[in-house]
Amino acid sequence: MAEPTDTLEESLPDEIHAKLSDILQPDETIHFSTTSDIRLDGAFGEAWLLATNHQLIAYSPDGGGPPDIVRLPLSEITSIEVKDLVGSGQLKARTANSGATLSRFTKGLNPKFSDVAKTLETLVKEAQPGIENDKLLRGKLARSASGVRCETCGTVIPPRHDVCPNCLDTRKLLTRLLMYARPHWKLGTLSLFLLLTATFIGLLPPLLMSELIDNVLGPISLSDPLFKKEDAYSQLYLLVGLLFLINLSQSSLSAIRSYILSKLGQHVTYDLRNEVYQHLHQHSLSFYNERETGRIMASITQDVGRLQDFISDGLQEAIRDILTIVIICCILFYMDAKLAALTLLPTPLLVYATLKFSERFHRNYRGLWRRWAGLSALLADTIPGVRVVKAFAQEDREVGKFQVISKDLFEGEVRVAGIRSIFSPIMSFITSIGTLIIWFVGGGSVLEGTLTLGSFVAFTQYMFRYYGPVQSLCRLNHRFQRASTSAERVFEVLDTQPDVVSPPNAITLPRIEGKVEFKDVAFSYEQGKPVLKDLSFTIEPGEMIGLAGHSGAGKSTLINLICRFYDIESGQIFIDGHDLQDISLNSLRNQIGVVLQDPFLFNGPIAENIAYGNPDASLAEVVAAAKTANAHEFILRLPDGYDTPVGERGVRLSGGERQRISIARAILRDPRILILDEATSSMDTETEAQIQEALHRLIQGRTTFAIAHRLSTLKHANRLLIIEDGELAEIGSHDELIAQDGIYARLCHMQTELSKLRAL
């Protein structure tokens, strides 16, 4: 395990210092000393790397033998190299005529050794003034690969968690959760009151039973001359009546309580769910990029549901269980303290067994769940790929693969079944010990006459009611954990501050001309990996700009920045002379229309999809927009016309049809700035012609940014921006750029060659 070490200065143990004393000159001082966790011979263990004012020393104890000591004079070092290998890393230094590996380390120390390498670079530069700088340090160590560690405590943060569970205060979390219940405190208090009453009443019947045996049924056998049958009957009726009342009130109380509780839980869920969803929409795209869709969806559906379950069931059950245990103990000890103490003896055993079993259960169930997941993954993989399986005649192999996984699952199930089948018998056996004690000790007391028969029976009944709550309290911890994980995920969504926000005194843009100006704009999605560097250009209103360049050059990023889906790192972007940062987000995006390569339609009628950006548009406007977008005809061919539902994500329409709807959507919005992101790729020629025509109408009089891989689609562009490695490589009209004979000319040339090939 990697212990995060902040400092490179670790104090050198005296024994190592003593061993190095022969090597060190009297005037040598140690600049820094640091440890790694793999020795030079490849075994795990502490090894040292030291830098003095003269030399680098690697000191690595060799299992049993003499230590490995490597020395390199600082003044001769020509390069320092870090190697990021598979499963470990190395630090190597070279001089003009030799070289040596100085340290080996596990990946957890990557950050530390990145720093070590930089420090060494500085030291070497100090020792050799005037050395050529840029070649001294080579290689790069990647950050942690699969897991992420908490920055404060170094604990590994579980996947899909995002919050360090160690630094998380469970109690604080649950208190915060309860704050959501506070507006409904009346309901809460009422249900708690009902809960207490119902629990109390529920514990009365054994007492009645004891009364019945001792004072009504018992005396009969004594044939007491003073015994009056009528009195006994009236007492019997009284007890029967009481039991009836108790049962009735208990049932009705619990019915009311459960309704109130569910209502309370639903209230909290309702508030929380809406708050989470509302908050989600305030986040910028980077929030979504960093998280999986399923995970975000789960926090709205699953997590919130679990919290409700915890508030309405978990908490209350815990209170009820504790209360029941306390009351039963009181009653038992009141009836017969000695017997009570003996009866409760098996409790620790029961607690222990329950804890052990639930842990094993949990572990094995998880394993089982993994095997099930493996099986589903295989199915999800093969069934859609059945064409390939058949084409290569690999049915038998697929069946074989399935059987292997299926066998695994079988074995897992059998193991869990084994645990499950011994669980209940063991539990009943432990509880039966209590009965044995009551029979043995209590029975004796009855014979001795120190305990009444009624108390004996009541004892037995209470004992059985006692074990249930004890067991469920044992499982409470697990429930608590689950709820706090869910709470932490929900609160994580709520606590993340949106990173792209309108400033407090944002300008509301009037209808703009469409002038776009970039001034030294730099941007990166991840720190240290710049996507755009010092980009500057000015686009006049109404101009159509084609964006071209290799994939990954930064074209889509540029467009994301105009929409302000992300905030830039440095520089400024101006729209009609206003800094993008000063404009309210809504008024900016209201003037931008987007047509994407794979247009996203929402489940609903076509008309609604066209009017997505302008819900108030009249039907006439919708039809006009569809006509301009060349979509009117195919829409009318559908039996339900504009009311045809498009299906989830628009699956019921073809790609070209979806595209024309999204163009109609953009037309209806009448944006001043239009963005076409690969709007015509992956269409057949005829569809493309129709779409091109529609687009041509759309771009009239608007500032347009079009990204296209097929350069022929950019022929209407006034100017072309060629982006290369995040920098503006070329700008100008088609003819100008061809004359320049640069990147664009080369791209054009390649595509003509390609289309010639295709034509063959």
Binding site: M1, G42, L85, V86, G87, G147, V156, P165, A373
Partner: protein, 165 residues
């Protein structure tokens, strides 16, 4: 098939590997000398000794060693050593404990390279059974470990392993 494999740039058997003055791996083949070469496994799991790709210091492929056992003994030793350094893969010989804290199982083990503790964030993603009982593990920081055959572990270790596999 033979026509297909003709395209592969298989190094001749007299290719000689040695460690140069810079403690880098070097290759001498058909009269040419390449300093500071790197060796990479094409099939790290299935065939760790076969199809070793040799690259020069610009990371361009020089050729492929079909099987390192065909090399002369000195070359074999240095190539083997270089591979072992690149693919640092301690073998787990005993599992002392797997404790789950905050959903993360923390393993305490003995390996052939010494004792070690590590965390595996997601057993589903980072634990792979690759056939013949061989298990590959990747810890939170990207370090790798293997259990050569989990079925041959001692009873205590096996009990721990089975809850994860």
């Amino acid at each position: 098939m033979s026509q297909l494999t003709n395209e592969l740039n298989i190094l001749p058997q007299d290719a000689h590997f040695y460690i140069n003055a810079f403690h880098d791996l070097a290759l001498e083949v058909t009269g040419e000398i390449y300093e500071n070469v790197t060796v990479e496994r094409a099939f790290p799991l299935k065939a760790p000794d076969e199809f070793i790709v040799v690259k020069d210091d610009q990371k361009d492929e020089i050729g492929i060693i079909e099987n390192i056992r065909q090399l002369d003994q000195d070359s074999l030793d240095v190539v083997q050593d270089a591979l072992n350094q690149t693919y640092y893969l301690p073998k787990i010989i005993k599992i002392h404990a797997i404790e789950t804290n905050f959903h993360i199982p923390k393993w305490t083990v003995d390996t052939d390279r010494g004792p070690r503790m590590f965390e595996i964030p997601s057993s589903r993603r980072d634990v792979r059974v690759v056939g013949g009982g061989r298990v590959l593990l990747r810890d939170a920081d990207g370090n790798r470990y293997e259990i050569p055959d989990y079925r041959k572990l001692d009873v205590e270790s096996l009990a721990f392993a089975e809850t994860i596999l």
